[in-house]
């Protein structure tokens, strides 16, 4: 926590050292440039970098809500919080739920978005804007607001089951059934995030050289062959990028369970972020920090792994 108050001073423009090789003009420019950056740097250190370090520091202490006014009066407890975390079945459950949410949601979102992008890019001439706006609209909406709407749609006597009953299907009570609650949230997340990836894939598709497609057509390659041998390899950087940002977004899911299920039924939708928030609510600040850092590490690791995997195939 020391970093919070002490750090801003360090980042100020450094006084030119006597031995500095740079010319006076360069020193002047450095001063001017850091002047441009100063407001950002100060806010950045206090409200972003500080808390990132602070969260890690707090996770090794016994910080609770009682220490709020005296943040430096806490005891260092080492890895105790982390050990306790991994002995808490609810925490492990939240990790599992988050993992399932990502593993099911990301490929599904990417697959559907790719199909929509391909259809919009190649298949049709008219009404592209209408389709694009329609598929993208959920992205701009507040998850909280839209989760409330979905909660009502997914009620036992809600719109979805009403629709299913037209075909003689008796739908489950989606959000109250431990088996269906998490898939329902995945479904909603796919619906909400489809548009982002669609736009990213559309941009990526336009960078696929059309000469390659023409050459392949001359050689007699069919649509499917051209898709797997030309489009997919050319899209690899875009696909990688999409996988990373979608995974990072999905790993943090919080609003959906908060509004739709409160983590229930039987912790079936308790996400990692929600677990952290609950611990914060109970006043266990150090514990909450530790749990948030586990999620943070998962995010960093996942990004690294995905880069390794997809990066290697590229060369």
């Amino acid at each position: 926590m020391v970093a919070l108050t002490a750090a801003p001073a360090e980042r100020k423009p450094r006084p030119p050292r006597e031995a500095a090789r740079g010319s006076r003009r360069q020193n002047r420019m450095t001063l001017i440039a850091w002047g441009f950056a100063a407001p950002f740097v100060i806010l950045f250190l206090v409200f972003l970098a500080g808390p990132i370090v602070g969260s890690l520091a707090m996770s090794f202490t016994d910080f609770t809500t009682r220490d709020l006014q005296t943040p430096f009066n806490v005891n260092v407890v080492g890895l105790e919080n982390y050990i306790n975390l991994f002995q808490d079945p609810r925490f492990l459950r939240s990790l599992l739920n988050t993992f399932v949410f990502v593993v099911a949601g990301v490929p599904l979102t990417m697959g559907i978005a790719l199909v929509v992008a391909l259809a919009l890019d190649k298949g049709i001439d008219r009404f592209r804007t209408v389709f694009r706006v329609g598929f993208y609209a959920p992205v701009v909406t507040s998850i909280v607001a839209i989760a409330i709407v979905w909660r009502f749609i997914l009620q036992p006597d809600g719109l979805l089951n009403g629709f299913l009953s037209l075909f003689g299907i008796q739908g489950p009570s989606w959000l109250q059934d431990p088996a269906w609650a998490l898939p329902s949230l995945v479904f909603m997340a796919v619906w909400r995030n489809l548009g982002t990836l669609m736009v990213i894939f559309l941009a990526g598709l336009q960078s696929v050289p059309k000469e390659h497609h023409e050459a392949a057509m001359v050689d007699g390659a069919n649509v499917f062959q051209r898709f797997t041998n030309i489009t997919i390899p050319a899209l690899r950087p875009t696909l990688l990028f999409a996988a990373v940002i979608t995974s990072i977004g999905f790993l943090q899911f919080f609003e959906e369970p908060y509004v739709m299920t409160q983590g229930g039924p039987l912790d079936a939708t308790l996400s990692s972020a929600m677990y952290t928030f609950d611990q914060f609510g109970f006043g266990n600040y150090a514990f909450a920090s530790a749990s948030s850092y586990v999620l943070f590490l998962a995010i960093v690791l996942l990004a690294l792994i995905q880069f390794r995997l997809l990066g290697r195939k590229q060369d």
Binding site: L4, G22, Q26, M29, T30, I32, F36, A37, F40, F44, F47, L48, G50, G54, S55, Q69, P71, D121, K122, G123, I124, D125, T129, Y136, V139, V140, T141, S142, I143, V144, A145, I146, I148, V149, F152, T196, I200, L202, A203, Q206, H213, T238, F241, V244, I245, I248, F254, E255, V259, Q262, A273, T276, F277, F280, A288, S292, L295, F296, A303, F307
Partner: protein
């Protein structure tokens, strides 16, 4: 996390290089427009599939708007009918009468306006330094921006709350606004855009004896219209929909923003008030949807410029 630079590269950096014509580059940056290669004939069945898809995407919005005009008795009956039988404004009357949604709406606006202004001013300033000035520590500064591009709010909110509490800013506008006045994403966006501006005009202004501040204000900023528009939309939207931090820091009703109020009411005693909650969702979502339909070009541009929504 030194990955962000690589992550954003496919969209922000590499993609434009591959296009041949400036027209193509612009179309690509916006992620829209028709592809010039229309080698295959449009297929009618694709229209059907896409239309069904779009209807599935849009139905929750339609359901929300219709539901907000339904009476409580009509909602209780089963099976629910799609259209309201007798449309009523009662839900909206309650929303702005019994519940204080006017206040929540104003809070959301106030926070979003300040957050957006802060981001425009501060991101432009750093963006200029990073894009057009040579100085010691530049790589370090840009590295910091890139590595923090995707740090989730859930990692920082606990210490941030301790800090806010010690500054005496819990449950206040500054407490809601200050942590979001800058975003690494905003800096990244402005830098990327400013890199594309020619150096000649800056050199010319320097030879004329203009100071860097004057060049920034009079030469660079007037050219940054599109980037500022995109940044405005992205940050306003981000702030408008932001949930976790306002939920933590707003402790009494008079400081709630719209998503916080909506979420807390929806799990409280009004939870069963279907029509009322739908009306609340309409108040949060519909203004954004209208702005989106009108300015959709800039929304899409934001994704293309930064790769992140």
């Amino acid at each position: 996390m030194a990955l962000a630079s690589e992550m954003t590269a496919p969209i922000a950096g590499e993609a434009p290089k591959r296009t041949r014509s400036p027209r193509g580059a612009r179309r690509q940056a916006a992620g829209l427009g028709r592809s010039p290669r229309r080698s295959e004939r449009p297929r009618w069945w694709l229209y059907i599939v896409l239309t069904v898809g779009v209807i599935a995407m849009i139905i929750p919005f339609v359901w929300m708007i219709l539901g907000s005009f339904k009476t409580t008795t009509e909602i209780r009956q089963y099976p629910t009918e799609f259209l309201p039988r007798e449309a009523t404004f009662e839900n909206y009357v309650q929303l702005f009468g019994r519940l204080d949604f006017a206040t929540f709406f104003m809070n959301s606006i106030i926070v979003a306006v300040f957050v957006t202004l802060g981001n425009i001013v501060f991101s432009s300033m750093v963006g200029y330094a990073l894009a057009k000035l040579e100085f010691r520590g530049k790589r370090l500064l840009f590295g910091l921006v890139l590595t923090t591009l995707m740090v989730p709010g859930v990692v920082t909110f606990v210490p941030l709350f301790v800090l806010t509490a010690n500054l005496g800013l819990v449950n206040s506008y500054p407490g809601l606004i200050l942590p979001f006045l800058i975003t690494p994403l905003g800096v990244f966006l402005m830098r990327q855009f400013m890199l594309s501006l020619p150096d000649d005009i800056i050199e010319a202004a320097r030879i004329d004896g203009a100071s860097e501040w004057r060049i920034f204000l009079r030469v660079i900023m007037p050219l940054c219209g599109p980037a500022v528009a995109t940044l405005t939309i992205l940050t306003f939207l981000g702030s408008w929909n932001n949930f976790l931090w306002p939920l933590v820091v707003a402790t009494t009703e008079d400081m709630y923003t719209l998503p916080v109020a909506l979420a807390l009411y929806s799990v409280g005693q009004n939870a069963a008030q279907y029509g009322l909650m739908m009306a609340g969702a309409v108040v949060v979502v519909v203004p954004v949807l209208i702005v989106f339909v009108l300015l959709q070009r800039y929304f899409v541009q934001g994704i293309a410029l930064t790769g992140i929504k």
